[in-house]
């Protein structure tokens, strides 16, 4: 994929994440901060489907944005065919692992598994 396309994805994921993370934080502010972190309150959040979908979107957007940012930093530091391949595939693998692990939490908490 062209770097210009990757940067557009980077900026797109950033803008999407800013909006959704703001909503995510505002949910914590609807009640007292420590109350909002109580088990029942958090589980209720996961059972609320639109909120769970939003969490999944945040997970995907931030994983892509974060690991692409790390990839850019690592490629700025050093170049080379083998190194660049390792960084690119390493970051894709890290995105996949983090999204899978986070999705597991959202699904299990959402469906009460």
């Amino acid at each position: 994929m062209q770097e210009s396309v990757i940067m557009k994805i980077h900026y797109g994921t950033a803008l999407g994440a800013v909006v959704l993370v703001a909503i995510h934080i505002l949910f914590r502010m609807t009640q007292n901060f420590s109350e909002s972190l109580q088990y029942e309150s958090v589980i209720a959040n996961y059972h609320f489907l639109p909120y769970a979908i939003m969490l999944e979107l945040i997970l995907i957007l931030l994983s892509v944005h974060g690991f692409n940012g790390l990839r850019v930093i690592l490629l700025e530091l050093k170049q080379g065919v083998g190194y660049e391949k390792a960084v690119n595939y390493g970051c894709i693998a890290a995105i996949a692992v983090l999204v899978a692990y986070g999705s597991r939490t959202i699904l299990m908490a959402g469906f009460g598994m």
């Binding site: 420590s34 972190l37 997970l59 790390l70 700025e76 530091l77």
Partner: protein, 143 residues
């Protein structure tokens, strides 16, 4: 070989002093980005304890809802605000907004893109991050 020896690697990346405020912003952008990525991974791991039941969740809360935990969260708030506001500045700059008109490069070769508007934006992002951190401290410790 000459080129190899000029490479400063991570030392060059970490030196914010040579190129003014824009270099500091570049450095802070990467530093906050890495910090936020570490926090995000830790947050995904931390919240996964909810699937192990109420007791596991309470144990995790006891670990994170401490003075140290709140200080870390306050730093995360600051990093998040700076990264967001400065990121929007960078995006607008790359889109050609606020970078000035291209002109003939005359001595002392001041790049039009590194102008007062962008410097003001960088200072504003640092200021907003400080304000957000103060608000975060008030919310986290004011309970």
């Amino acid at each position: 070989m000459e080129r190899q020896s000029n490479r400063e690697g991570i030392k060059g990346w970490l030196n914010p002093g040579r190129y003014g405020l824009e270099r500091v912003a570049y450095w802070l952008m990467r530093l906050t980005g890495l910090g936020l990525l570490v926090y995000f991974i830790a947050h995904v791991f931390e919240t996964s304890s909810i699937v192990n039941g109420k007791e596991a969740w309470q144990k995790m809360l006891e670990l994170t809802q401490t003075t140290e935990g709140h200080i870390i969260l306050t730093i995360v708030i600051g990093m998040c605000v700076f990264h967001t506001v400065n990121g929007i500045r960078v995006m607008l700059g790359q889109g050609g907004v606020g970078v000035g008109k291209p002109g003939r490069p005359d001595y002392p070769y001041k790049p039009a893109s590194l102008n007062s508007r962008h410097k003001l934006c960088i200072l504003a992002s640092i200021g907003l991050a400080a304000l957000a951190m103060m608000y975060g401290l008030a919310v986290l410790f004011g309970e």
